[in-house]
Symmetry: C2
Amino acid sequence: MAESTTHHLTRENSGGGRVLTPKQLEIRNRGTRILDAAFPLVREHGLSAVSMESIARAMDCTRGTIYNHFSNKEDILLALAARSVRRRMELFRYAVTLGQDSRQCCAAIGIAAEVYVDCLPDDFSIEQITRHDPVWQKTSQARRKVLAECEQQCIDCISGVISSAIRNGDLVVAKSVTQETLVQRIVFGLWSLVYGGLVLESTSPSLGMAGISQPRVAIRRNCNALLDDIGWRPLFDPSAYQKYVSSITPKLRRQAKSIQKRTSQEVSA
Amino acid sequence: MAESTTHHLTRENSGGGRVLTPKQLEIRNRGTRILDAAFPLVREHGLSAVSMESIARAMDCTRGTIYNHFSNKEDILLALAARSVRRRMELFRYAVTLGQDSRQCCAAIGIAAEVYVDCLPDDFSIEQITRHDPVWQKTSQARRKVLAECEQQCIDCISGVISSAIRNGDLVVAKSVTQETLVQRIVFGLWSLVYGGLVLESTSPSLGMAGISQPRVAIRRNCNALLDDIGWRPLFDPSAYQKYVSSITPKLRRQAKSIQKRTSQEVSA
DNA sequence: GAGTAATTTGACAATTCGTCAAAATTGGCG
DNA sequence: CGCCAATTTTGACGAATTGTCAAATTACTC
Protein backbone atom coordinates (compact mmCIF):
# COMPACT_ATOMS: atom_id res chain seq x y z
CA MET A 1 0.00 0.00 0.00
CA ALA A 2 1.39 3.34 -1.00
CA GLU A 3 -1.15 5.23 1.00
CA SER A 4 -0.05 7.17 3.99
CA THR A 5 -3.20 6.59 5.91
CA THR A 6 -4.22 9.27 8.29
CA HIS A 7 -7.05 7.20 9.61
CA HIS A 8 -7.26 3.45 9.47
CA LEU A 9 -8.27 2.71 5.93
CA THR A 10 -7.66 -0.98 5.96
CA ARG A 11 -9.84 -3.28 7.85
CA GLU A 12 -8.26 -6.05 9.87
CA ASN A 13 -8.78 -9.19 7.86
CA SER A 14 -10.00 -10.86 11.00
CA GLY A 15 -10.57 -14.58 10.79
CA GLY A 16 -8.60 -15.53 7.68
CA GLY A 17 -8.78 -14.37 4.04
CA ARG A 18 -11.96 -12.38 3.72
CA VAL A 19 -13.05 -11.03 0.38
CA LEU A 20 -12.86 -7.27 0.03
CA THR A 21 -16.11 -5.37 0.12
CA PRO A 22 -16.92 -3.06 -2.81
CA LYS A 23 -16.13 -0.04 -0.69
CA GLN A 24 -12.72 -1.39 0.24
CA LEU A 25 -11.98 -2.04 -3.38
CA GLU A 26 -12.92 1.48 -4.29
CA ILE A 27 -10.59 2.82 -1.65
CA ARG A 28 -7.81 0.59 -2.79
CA ASN A 29 -8.09 2.02 -6.28
CA ARG A 30 -8.47 5.58 -5.21
CA GLY A 31 -4.77 6.23 -5.10
CA THR A 32 -4.69 5.54 -8.80
CA ARG A 33 -7.77 7.61 -9.44
CA ILE A 34 -6.22 10.57 -7.69
CA LEU A 35 -3.13 10.32 -9.85
CA ASP A 36 -5.27 9.98 -12.96
CA ALA A 37 -7.15 13.11 -11.98
CA ALA A 38 -4.05 15.07 -11.07
CA PHE A 39 -1.98 14.24 -14.12
CA PRO A 40 -3.96 16.08 -16.80
CA LEU A 41 -4.41 19.04 -14.49
CA VAL A 42 -0.69 19.34 -13.99
CA ARG A 43 -0.22 18.99 -17.71
CA GLU A 44 -2.66 21.70 -18.63
CA HIS A 45 -2.13 24.28 -15.96
CA GLY A 46 1.28 23.58 -14.51
CA LEU A 47 1.93 22.24 -11.06
CA SER A 48 1.61 25.43 -9.08
CA ALA A 49 -1.80 26.15 -10.55
CA VAL A 50 -3.14 22.79 -9.38
CA SER A 51 -4.68 22.83 -5.94
CA MET A 52 -5.88 19.96 -3.84
CA GLU A 53 -9.31 21.45 -4.31
CA SER A 54 -9.08 21.21 -8.10
CA ILE A 55 -7.94 17.61 -7.94
CA ALA A 56 -10.78 16.79 -5.60
CA ARG A 57 -13.28 18.49 -7.88
CA ALA A 58 -11.93 16.56 -10.85
CA MET A 59 -12.76 13.29 -9.15
CA ASP A 60 -15.89 14.26 -7.32
CA CYS A 61 -14.82 14.21 -3.75
CA THR A 62 -13.45 16.71 -1.26
CA ARG A 63 -9.96 17.53 -0.18
CA GLY A 64 -10.35 15.65 3.04
CA THR A 65 -10.69 12.40 1.20
CA ILE A 66 -7.52 12.98 -0.76
CA TYR A 67 -5.66 13.69 2.44
CA ASN A 68 -6.55 10.17 3.49
CA HIS A 69 -4.29 8.91 0.73
CA PHE A 70 -1.55 11.50 0.27
CA SER A 71 -0.25 13.78 2.95
CA ASN A 72 0.19 16.72 0.59
CA LYS A 73 0.46 17.86 -3.00
CA GLU A 74 4.14 17.09 -3.18
CA ASP A 75 3.51 13.51 -2.24
CA ILE A 76 1.09 13.23 -5.10
CA LEU A 77 3.72 14.64 -7.40
CA LEU A 78 6.27 12.13 -6.23
CA ALA A 79 3.85 9.31 -6.90
CA LEU A 80 3.21 10.71 -10.37
CA ALA A 81 6.95 10.89 -10.92
CA ALA A 82 7.41 7.26 -9.92
CA ARG A 83 4.78 6.31 -12.46
CA SER A 84 6.54 8.37 -15.09
CA VAL A 85 9.90 6.80 -14.39
CA ARG A 86 8.27 3.41 -14.70
CA ARG A 87 6.97 4.34 -18.12
CA ARG A 88 10.41 5.47 -19.12
CA MET A 89 11.93 2.27 -17.88
CA GLU A 90 9.43 0.25 -19.83
CA LEU A 91 10.40 2.14 -22.95
CA PHE A 92 14.09 1.55 -22.26
CA ARG A 93 13.56 -2.16 -21.79
CA TYR A 94 11.67 -2.36 -25.02
CA ALA A 95 14.44 -0.40 -26.76
CA VAL A 96 17.03 -2.95 -25.69
CA THR A 97 15.14 -5.65 -27.55
CA LEU A 98 15.47 -3.70 -30.81
CA GLY A 99 19.25 -3.91 -31.11
CA GLN A 100 21.23 -6.47 -33.08
CA ASP A 101 24.53 -5.76 -31.38
CA SER A 102 25.42 -4.21 -28.04
CA ARG A 103 26.09 -0.79 -29.44
CA GLN A 104 22.77 -0.73 -31.22
CA CYS A 105 21.09 -1.54 -27.94
CA CYS A 106 22.86 1.39 -26.37
CA ALA A 107 21.85 3.69 -29.21
CA ALA A 108 18.29 2.46 -28.93
CA ILE A 109 18.09 3.57 -25.31
CA GLY A 110 19.27 7.01 -26.31
CA ILE A 111 16.59 7.26 -28.97
CA ALA A 112 14.09 5.92 -26.45
CA ALA A 113 14.94 8.85 -24.20
CA GLU A 114 14.22 11.24 -27.05
CA VAL A 115 10.95 9.51 -27.82
CA TYR A 116 10.04 9.65 -24.16
CA VAL A 117 10.44 13.42 -24.16
CA ASP A 118 8.50 13.77 -27.40
CA CYS A 119 5.63 11.38 -26.82
CA LEU A 120 5.26 11.62 -23.06
CA PRO A 121 6.25 15.23 -22.48
CA ASP A 122 4.18 15.56 -19.34
CA ASP A 123 5.92 12.64 -17.76
CA PHE A 124 9.25 14.19 -18.57
CA SER A 125 8.11 17.48 -17.15
CA ILE A 126 6.93 15.85 -13.95
CA GLU A 127 10.22 14.05 -13.53
CA GLN A 128 11.97 17.36 -13.79
CA ILE A 129 9.75 19.20 -11.37
CA THR A 130 10.36 16.46 -8.85
CA ARG A 131 14.06 17.12 -8.86
CA HIS A 132 13.62 20.29 -6.91
CA ASP A 133 14.23 21.22 -3.35
CA PRO A 134 10.93 22.80 -2.51
CA VAL A 135 9.11 19.69 -3.66
CA TRP A 136 11.65 17.22 -2.39
CA GLN A 137 11.78 18.48 1.16
CA LYS A 138 8.09 18.12 1.78
CA THR A 139 7.81 14.53 0.69
CA SER A 140 7.84 11.44 2.82
CA GLN A 141 10.79 9.13 3.19
CA ALA A 142 8.82 6.14 1.96
CA ARG A 143 7.74 7.74 -1.26
CA ARG A 144 11.21 9.04 -1.96
CA LYS A 145 12.48 5.52 -1.65
CA VAL A 146 9.96 4.22 -4.15
CA LEU A 147 11.04 6.83 -6.65
CA ALA A 148 14.72 6.08 -6.12
CA GLU A 149 14.08 2.40 -6.74
CA CYS A 150 12.31 3.13 -10.00
CA GLU A 151 15.22 5.24 -11.14
CA GLN A 152 17.64 2.56 -10.15
CA GLN A 153 15.89 0.13 -12.46
CA CYS A 154 16.38 2.53 -15.35
CA ILE A 155 20.07 2.73 -14.59
CA ASP A 156 20.31 -1.03 -14.30
CA CYS A 157 18.87 -1.28 -17.76
CA ILE A 158 21.75 0.72 -19.24
CA SER A 159 24.35 -0.89 -17.03
CA GLY A 160 23.14 -4.25 -18.25
CA VAL A 161 23.75 -3.33 -21.86
CA ILE A 162 27.25 -2.13 -21.11
CA SER A 163 28.12 -5.17 -19.03
CA SER A 164 26.97 -7.52 -21.72
CA ALA A 165 29.03 -5.60 -24.27
CA ILE A 166 32.05 -6.25 -22.12
CA ARG A 167 31.10 -9.90 -21.72
CA ASN A 168 30.90 -10.53 -25.43
CA GLY A 169 34.03 -8.55 -26.25
CA ASP A 170 32.52 -5.52 -28.01
CA LEU A 171 34.00 -3.40 -25.29
CA VAL A 172 37.43 -4.03 -23.81
CA VAL A 173 38.29 -2.84 -20.33
CA ALA A 174 41.68 -1.15 -20.16
CA LYS A 175 44.04 -2.48 -17.56
CA SER A 176 44.19 0.81 -15.73
CA VAL A 177 40.57 0.69 -14.59
CA THR A 178 38.20 -1.86 -13.16
CA GLN A 179 35.19 -2.99 -15.14
CA GLU A 180 32.90 -1.48 -12.59
CA THR A 181 34.51 1.92 -12.84
CA LEU A 182 34.25 1.86 -16.60
CA VAL A 183 30.60 0.86 -16.57
CA GLN A 184 29.78 3.63 -14.13
CA ARG A 185 31.64 6.20 -16.14
CA ILE A 186 29.82 5.30 -19.34
CA VAL A 187 26.42 5.19 -17.68
CA PHE A 188 27.00 8.53 -16.07
CA GLY A 189 28.43 10.04 -19.24
CA LEU A 190 25.58 9.00 -21.49
CA TRP A 191 23.05 9.89 -18.86
CA SER A 192 24.51 13.36 -18.36
CA LEU A 193 24.80 13.96 -22.07
CA VAL A 194 21.29 12.87 -22.95
CA TYR A 195 19.52 14.14 -19.86
CA GLY A 196 21.45 17.39 -19.79
CA GLY A 197 20.95 17.92 -23.49
CA LEU A 198 17.24 17.27 -23.38
CA VAL A 199 16.74 19.46 -20.35
CA LEU A 200 18.66 22.28 -21.94
CA GLU A 201 16.73 21.85 -25.15
CA SER A 202 13.43 22.14 -23.36
CA THR A 203 14.24 24.86 -20.87
CA SER A 204 16.98 27.07 -22.14
CA PRO A 205 15.94 30.15 -24.07
CA SER A 206 19.57 30.81 -24.88
CA LEU A 207 19.87 27.72 -27.02
CA GLY A 208 18.30 29.18 -30.12
CA MET A 209 20.12 32.43 -29.57
CA ALA A 210 23.42 30.57 -29.51
CA GLY A 211 22.58 29.12 -32.90
CA ILE A 212 22.17 25.59 -31.62
CA SER A 213 19.36 24.64 -33.89
CA GLN A 214 19.57 20.87 -33.89
CA PRO A 215 20.26 19.75 -30.36
CA ARG A 216 19.10 16.21 -31.09
CA VAL A 217 21.67 15.74 -33.79
CA ALA A 218 24.33 17.08 -31.46
CA ILE A 219 23.30 14.80 -28.60
CA ARG A 220 23.45 11.72 -30.79
CA ARG A 221 26.76 12.66 -32.32
CA ASN A 222 28.27 13.41 -28.92
CA CYS A 223 27.11 10.12 -27.44
CA ASN A 224 28.76 8.29 -30.29
CA ALA A 225 31.91 10.31 -29.80
CA LEU A 226 31.97 9.18 -26.18
CA LEU A 227 31.49 5.54 -27.12
CA ASP A 228 34.04 5.66 -29.93
CA ASP A 229 36.58 7.16 -27.58
CA ILE A 230 36.45 4.13 -25.32
CA GLY A 231 36.50 1.82 -28.35
CA TRP A 232 33.06 0.24 -28.11
CA ARG A 233 32.59 -1.87 -31.26
CA PRO A 234 31.28 -1.53 -33.82
CA LEU A 235 32.52 2.04 -34.10
CA PHE A 236 30.27 4.84 -35.26
CA ASP A 237 29.24 4.66 -38.89
CA PRO A 238 27.07 7.69 -39.73
CA SER A 239 24.96 6.12 -42.46
CA ALA A 240 24.43 2.81 -40.69
CA TYR A 241 23.56 4.67 -37.49
CA GLN A 242 21.11 6.91 -39.30
CA LYS A 243 19.47 3.95 -40.95
CA TYR A 244 19.17 2.12 -37.67
CA VAL A 245 17.69 5.12 -35.90
CA SER A 246 15.13 5.56 -38.65
CA SER A 247 14.12 1.95 -38.36
CA ILE A 248 13.55 1.90 -34.61
CA THR A 249 12.07 5.35 -34.08
CA PRO A 250 8.57 4.50 -35.31
CA LYS A 251 8.57 1.34 -33.23
CA LEU A 252 9.57 3.25 -30.15
CA ARG A 253 6.96 5.89 -30.79
CA ARG A 254 4.29 3.27 -31.17
CA GLN A 255 5.37 1.64 -27.95
CA ALA A 256 5.34 5.01 -26.19
CA LYS A 257 1.79 5.69 -27.31
CA SER A 258 0.76 2.29 -26.12
CA ILE A 259 2.37 2.84 -22.74
CA GLN A 260 0.61 6.15 -22.48
CA LYS A 261 -2.74 4.60 -23.11
CA ARG A 262 -2.31 1.65 -20.83
CA THR A 263 -4.35 1.84 -17.70
CA SER A 264 -2.15 3.47 -15.16
CA GLN A 265 -1.03 1.40 -12.25
CA GLU A 266 -0.63 2.64 -8.75
CA VAL A 267 2.87 2.71 -7.42
CA SER A 268 3.16 0.57 -4.37
CA ALA A 269 5.79 0.98 -1.71
CA MET B 1 16.10 50.30 -14.67
CA ALA B 2 15.09 46.83 -13.81
CA GLU B 3 12.13 47.97 -11.81
CA SER B 4 8.71 47.21 -13.10
CA THR B 5 7.11 50.24 -11.57
CA THR B 6 3.52 49.93 -10.59
CA HIS B 7 3.32 53.59 -9.70
CA HIS B 8 5.56 56.29 -11.07
CA LEU B 9 8.77 55.86 -9.18
CA THR B 10 10.97 58.03 -11.31
CA ARG B 11 10.58 61.70 -11.32
CA GLU B 12 10.75 63.54 -14.63
CA ASN B 13 14.13 65.17 -14.70
CA SER B 14 12.47 68.42 -15.69
CA GLY B 15 14.76 71.18 -16.83
CA GLY B 16 17.93 69.28 -17.65
CA GLY B 17 20.19 67.04 -15.57
CA ARG B 18 19.05 67.46 -12.01
CA VAL B 19 20.89 65.79 -9.18
CA LEU B 20 19.04 62.92 -7.57
CA THR B 21 17.55 63.55 -4.19
CA PRO B 22 18.52 61.19 -1.34
CA LYS B 23 15.15 59.56 -1.51
CA GLN B 24 15.47 58.90 -5.21
CA LEU B 25 18.85 57.35 -4.63
CA GLU B 26 17.45 55.11 -1.95
CA ILE B 27 14.75 53.94 -4.30
CA ARG B 28 17.20 53.34 -7.06
CA ASN B 29 19.18 51.05 -4.81
CA ARG B 30 16.22 49.30 -3.36
CA GLY B 31 16.06 46.73 -6.12
CA THR B 32 19.47 45.57 -5.00
CA ARG B 33 18.53 45.68 -1.36
CA ILE B 34 15.53 43.49 -2.02
CA LEU B 35 17.69 40.92 -3.77
CA ASP B 36 20.22 41.05 -0.95
CA ALA B 37 17.46 40.42 1.54
CA ALA B 38 15.86 37.65 -0.48
CA PHE B 39 19.00 35.71 -1.32
CA PRO B 40 19.94 34.43 2.16
CA LEU B 41 16.31 33.66 2.88
CA VAL B 42 16.05 31.50 -0.21
CA ARG B 43 19.31 29.87 0.72
CA GLU B 44 18.30 29.00 4.25
CA HIS B 45 14.69 28.06 3.87
CA GLY B 46 14.19 27.20 0.22
CA LEU B 47 12.21 29.22 -2.25
CA SER B 48 8.75 28.06 -1.38
CA ALA B 49 9.24 28.91 2.27
CA VAL B 50 10.11 32.50 1.46
CA SER B 51 7.17 34.86 1.39
CA MET B 52 6.99 38.44 0.27
CA GLU B 53 6.25 39.21 3.88
CA SER B 54 9.48 37.61 5.09
CA ILE B 55 11.52 39.50 2.53
CA ALA B 56 9.84 42.73 3.54
CA ARG B 57 10.48 42.04 7.20
CA ALA B 58 14.14 41.31 6.45
CA MET B 59 14.58 44.77 5.01
CA ASP B 60 12.23 46.72 7.24
CA CYS B 61 9.47 47.68 4.93
CA THR B 62 6.12 46.27 3.94
CA ARG B 63 5.07 44.10 1.05
CA GLY B 64 3.51 47.00 -0.75
CA THR B 65 6.87 48.64 -1.16
CA ILE B 66 8.39 45.54 -2.68
CA TYR B 67 5.54 45.33 -5.15
CA ASN B 68 6.65 48.73 -6.39
CA HIS B 69 9.81 47.11 -7.65
CA PHE B 70 8.93 43.54 -8.56
CA SER B 71 5.56 42.37 -9.66
CA ASN B 72 5.81 39.07 -7.81
CA LYS B 73 8.08 36.58 -6.12
CA GLU B 74 8.98 34.91 -9.36
CA ASP B 75 10.26 38.15 -10.79
CA ILE B 76 12.54 38.51 -7.81
CA LEU B 77 13.81 35.01 -8.42
CA LEU B 78 14.55 35.79 -12.05
CA ALA B 79 16.51 38.86 -11.03
CA LEU B 80 18.45 36.75 -8.54
CA ALA B 81 19.13 34.24 -11.28
CA ALA B 82 20.46 36.90 -13.61
CA ARG B 83 22.84 37.96 -10.88
CA SER B 84 23.94 34.38 -10.39
CA VAL B 85 24.55 33.84 -14.08
CA ARG B 86 26.66 36.99 -14.09
CA ARG B 87 28.78 35.61 -11.30
CA ARG B 88 29.21 32.41 -13.21
CA MET B 89 30.19 34.27 -16.33
CA GLU B 90 32.73 36.27 -14.41
CA LEU B 91 34.26 33.05 -13.16
CA PHE B 92 34.33 31.63 -16.68
CA ARG B 93 36.07 34.69 -18.05
CA TYR B 94 38.64 34.52 -15.34
CA ALA B 95 39.14 30.82 -16.07
CA VAL B 96 39.95 31.54 -19.69
CA THR B 97 42.87 33.68 -18.58
CA LEU B 98 44.40 30.73 -16.75
CA GLY B 99 45.07 28.56 -19.78
CA GLN B 100 48.34 28.33 -21.72
CA ASP B 101 46.82 26.68 -24.76
CA SER B 102 43.29 26.53 -26.13
CA ARG B 103 42.51 23.17 -24.64
CA GLN B 104 43.64 24.28 -21.22
CA CYS B 105 41.29 27.24 -21.49
CA CYS B 106 38.48 24.87 -22.25
CA ALA B 107 39.35 22.64 -19.34
CA ALA B 108 39.56 25.67 -17.09
CA ILE B 109 35.96 26.59 -17.86
CA GLY B 110 34.87 23.10 -16.93
CA ILE B 111 36.65 23.32 -13.61
CA ALA B 112 35.19 26.78 -13.14
CA ALA B 113 31.75 25.25 -13.45
CA GLU B 114 32.62 22.77 -10.71
CA VAL B 115 33.97 25.51 -8.51
CA TYR B 116 30.84 27.53 -9.13
CA VAL B 117 28.70 24.70 -7.83
CA ASP B 118 30.97 24.17 -4.83
CA CYS B 119 31.64 27.73 -3.77
CA LEU B 120 28.41 29.41 -4.84
CA PRO B 121 25.92 26.61 -4.30
CA ASP B 122 23.03 28.95 -3.70
CA ASP B 123 23.59 30.65 -7.00
CA PHE B 124 23.62 27.30 -8.71
CA SER B 125 20.47 26.30 -6.93
CA ILE B 126 18.71 29.50 -7.92
CA GLU B 127 19.70 29.03 -11.54
CA GLN B 128 18.14 25.60 -11.42
CA ILE B 129 14.91 26.66 -9.79
CA THR B 130 14.51 29.30 -12.45
CA ARG B 131 14.47 26.71 -15.18
CA HIS B 132 11.02 25.60 -14.21
CA ASP B 133 7.64 26.12 -15.69
CA PRO B 134 5.77 27.29 -12.65
CA VAL B 135 8.32 30.01 -12.08
CA TRP B 136 8.94 30.82 -15.70
CA GLN B 137 5.33 31.38 -16.64
CA LYS B 138 4.72 34.08 -14.05
CA THR B 139 7.67 36.24 -14.97
CA SER B 140 7.73 39.29 -17.15
CA GLN B 141 9.00 39.34 -20.70
CA ALA B 142 11.57 42.01 -19.92
CA ARG B 143 13.16 40.13 -17.09
CA ARG B 144 13.28 36.92 -19.07
CA LYS B 145 15.18 38.76 -21.75
CA VAL B 146 17.74 40.05 -19.28
CA LEU B 147 18.36 36.54 -18.03
CA ALA B 148 18.68 35.16 -21.55
CA GLU B 149 21.25 37.80 -22.40
CA CYS B 150 23.32 36.91 -19.36
CA GLU B 151 23.26 33.27 -20.35
CA GLN B 152 24.21 34.14 -23.87
CA GLN B 153 27.35 35.81 -22.61
CA CYS B 154 28.35 32.62 -20.82
CA ILE B 155 27.92 30.69 -24.03
CA ASP B 156 29.88 33.28 -25.97
CA CYS B 157 32.73 32.77 -23.57
CA ILE B 158 33.01 29.08 -24.46
CA SER B 159 32.35 29.64 -28.13
CA GLY B 160 35.19 32.14 -28.14
CA VAL B 161 37.63 29.58 -26.81
CA ILE B 162 36.62 27.06 -29.43
CA SER B 163 36.76 29.56 -32.27
CA SER B 164 40.22 30.66 -31.30
CA ALA B 165 41.33 27.03 -31.12
CA ILE B 166 40.21 26.69 -34.73
CA ARG B 167 41.92 29.93 -35.69
CA ASN B 168 45.28 28.86 -34.36
CA GLY B 169 45.06 25.34 -35.69
CA ASP B 170 44.61 23.35 -32.47
CA LEU B 171 41.29 22.21 -33.81
CA VAL B 172 40.75 21.30 -37.46
CA VAL B 173 37.31 21.49 -39.01
CA ALA B 174 36.47 18.46 -41.08
CA LYS B 175 35.35 19.14 -44.61
CA SER B 176 31.96 17.59 -44.04
CA VAL B 177 30.82 20.25 -41.59
CA THR B 178 30.92 24.01 -41.29
CA GLN B 179 32.92 25.64 -38.58
CA GLU B 180 29.79 27.04 -37.05
CA THR B 181 28.16 23.64 -36.80
CA LEU B 182 31.22 22.20 -35.14
CA VAL B 183 31.47 25.01 -32.61
CA GLN B 184 27.83 24.63 -31.71
CA ARG B 185 28.13 20.90 -31.33
CA ILE B 186 31.09 21.20 -28.98
CA VAL B 187 29.52 23.97 -26.92
CA PHE B 188 26.34 22.02 -26.57
CA GLY B 189 28.16 18.77 -25.83
CA LEU B 190 30.36 20.18 -23.10
CA TRP B 191 27.47 22.16 -21.68
CA SER B 192 25.20 19.11 -21.55
CA LEU B 193 27.89 16.93 -20.08
CA VAL B 194 28.95 19.33 -17.35
CA TYR B 195 25.56 20.83 -16.57
CA GLY B 196 23.79 17.50 -16.77
CA GLY B 197 26.44 15.82 -14.68
CA LEU B 198 26.42 18.46 -11.99
CA VAL B 199 22.64 18.54 -11.83
CA LEU B 200 22.47 14.79 -11.54
CA GLU B 201 25.15 14.83 -8.89
CA SER B 202 23.25 17.32 -6.80
CA THR B 203 19.72 16.05 -7.25
CA SER B 204 19.72 12.39 -8.01
CA PRO B 205 19.42 10.04 -5.10
CA SER B 206 20.01 7.11 -7.42
CA LEU B 207 23.56 8.16 -8.18
CA GLY B 208 25.09 6.74 -5.06
CA MET B 209 22.92 3.67 -5.33
CA ALA B 210 24.21 3.08 -8.83
CA GLY B 211 27.72 3.08 -7.46
CA ILE B 212 28.71 6.30 -9.18
CA SER B 213 30.87 7.59 -6.40
CA GLN B 214 33.06 10.08 -8.20
CA PRO B 215 30.90 11.99 -10.63
CA ARG B 216 33.42 14.78 -10.95
CA VAL B 217 36.12 12.45 -12.18
CA ALA B 218 33.66 11.00 -14.67
CA ILE B 219 32.57 14.40 -15.94
CA ARG B 220 36.14 15.50 -16.54
CA ARG B 221 37.10 12.26 -18.22
CA ASN B 222 34.05 12.35 -20.46
CA CYS B 223 34.66 15.93 -21.53
CA ASN B 224 38.15 15.00 -22.53
CA ALA B 225 36.85 12.00 -24.42
CA LEU B 226 34.59 14.32 -26.38
CA LEU B 227 37.40 16.69 -27.20
CA ASP B 228 39.81 13.91 -28.10
CA ASP B 229 37.27 12.43 -30.44
CA ILE B 230 37.17 15.58 -32.54
CA GLY B 231 40.95 15.85 -32.37
CA TRP B 232 41.40 19.00 -30.35
CA ARG B 233 45.12 19.39 -29.67
CA PRO B 234 46.89 18.81 -27.46
CA LEU B 235 45.18 15.49 -26.80
CA PHE B 236 44.32 14.35 -23.31
CA ASP B 237 47.26 13.49 -21.12
CA PRO B 238 46.05 12.28 -17.73
CA SER B 239 48.97 13.40 -15.66
CA ALA B 240 49.41 16.76 -17.34
CA TYR B 241 45.66 17.36 -17.05
CA GLN B 242 45.64 16.45 -13.40
CA LYS B 243 48.55 18.72 -12.71
CA TYR B 244 46.92 21.59 -14.53
CA VAL B 245 43.64 21.15 -12.73
CA SER B 246 45.41 21.13 -9.41
CA SER B 247 47.18 24.34 -10.26
CA ILE B 248 44.11 26.32 -11.26
CA THR B 249 41.58 25.02 -8.78
CA PRO B 250 42.78 27.09 -5.84
CA LYS B 251 42.91 30.19 -8.01
CA LEU B 252 39.37 29.63 -9.19
CA ARG B 253 38.16 29.03 -5.66
CA ARG B 254 39.77 32.22 -4.50
CA GLN B 255 38.18 34.12 -7.34
CA ALA B 256 34.80 32.58 -6.54
CA LYS B 257 35.04 33.67 -2.92
CA SER B 258 35.95 37.14 -4.03
CA ILE B 259 33.01 37.29 -6.42
CA GLN B 260 30.76 36.11 -3.65
CA LYS B 261 31.88 38.87 -1.34
CA ARG B 262 31.75 41.66 -3.84
CA THR B 263 28.93 44.04 -3.31
CA SER B 264 26.10 42.74 -5.38
CA GLN B 265 25.05 44.78 -8.33
CA GLU B 266 21.52 45.19 -9.52
CA VAL B 267 20.75 43.69 -12.87
CA SER B 268 19.55 46.38 -15.22
CA ALA B 269 17.39 45.76 -18.22
C1' DG C 1 7.12 76.38 7.01
C1' DA C 2 3.39 75.42 3.72
C1' DG C 3 1.86 73.06 -0.28
C1' DT C 4 2.24 69.56 -3.54
C1' DA C 5 3.89 65.40 -5.39
C1' DA C 6 5.35 60.89 -4.62
C1' DT C 7 5.87 56.89 -1.68
C1' DT C 8 4.65 53.85 1.97
C1' DT C 9 1.45 51.63 4.50
C1' DG C 10 -1.77 48.23 6.23
C1' DA C 11 -6.43 46.70 5.91
C1' DC C 12 -9.06 43.96 2.53
C1' DA C 13 -10.72 40.36 -0.49
C1' DA C 14 -9.36 36.15 -2.41
C1' DT C 15 -6.83 31.67 -2.34
C1' DT C 16 -5.09 27.69 -0.50
C1' DC C 17 -3.59 24.57 3.01
C1' DG C 18 -4.17 20.94 6.55
C1' DT C 19 -7.24 19.54 10.53
C1' DC C 20 -10.97 17.53 12.83
C1' DA C 21 -15.51 16.93 14.86
C1' DA C 22 -19.82 15.96 13.05
C1' DA C 23 -22.55 13.87 9.39
C1' DA C 24 -23.18 10.30 6.24
C1' DT C 25 -22.33 5.93 4.53
C1' DT C 26 -21.26 1.12 4.70
C1' DG C 27 -21.71 -3.61 5.94
C1' DG C 28 -22.79 -7.19 9.41
C1' DC C 29 -26.44 -9.49 11.67
C1' DG C 30 -30.82 -10.59 13.64
C1' DC D 1 -35.71 -5.33 6.03
C1' DG D 2 -33.80 -2.37 9.20
C1' DC D 3 -30.77 -1.32 13.12
C1' DC D 4 -26.18 -0.54 15.00
C1' DA D 5 -21.40 -0.01 15.08
C1' DA D 6 -17.48 0.91 12.47
C1' DT D 7 -15.55 3.54 8.99
C1' DT D 8 -15.31 7.11 5.66
C1' DT D 9 -16.55 11.54 3.93
C1' DT D 10 -17.52 16.02 4.51
C1' DG D 11 -17.13 20.94 4.98
C1' DA D 12 -16.40 24.55 8.27
C1' DC D 13 -12.36 26.47 10.59
C1' DG D 14 -7.90 28.76 11.58
C1' DA D 15 -3.72 29.97 9.63
C1' DA D 16 -0.88 31.70 5.87
C1' DT D 17 -0.11 34.02 1.73
C1' DT D 18 -1.04 36.87 -2.34
C1' DG D 19 -1.88 41.18 -4.82
C1' DT D 20 -4.49 45.73 -4.57
C1' DC D 21 -5.54 50.35 -3.39
C1' DA D 22 -7.27 54.32 -0.85
C1' DA D 23 -5.56 56.75 2.88
C1' DA D 24 -1.72 58.26 5.59
C1' DT D 25 2.78 59.54 5.59
C1' DT D 26 6.91 61.40 3.95
C1' DA D 27 9.97 64.06 0.90
C1' DC D 28 10.99 67.92 -1.80
C1' DT D 29 10.37 72.73 -3.69
C1' DC D 30 9.80 77.37 -3.10
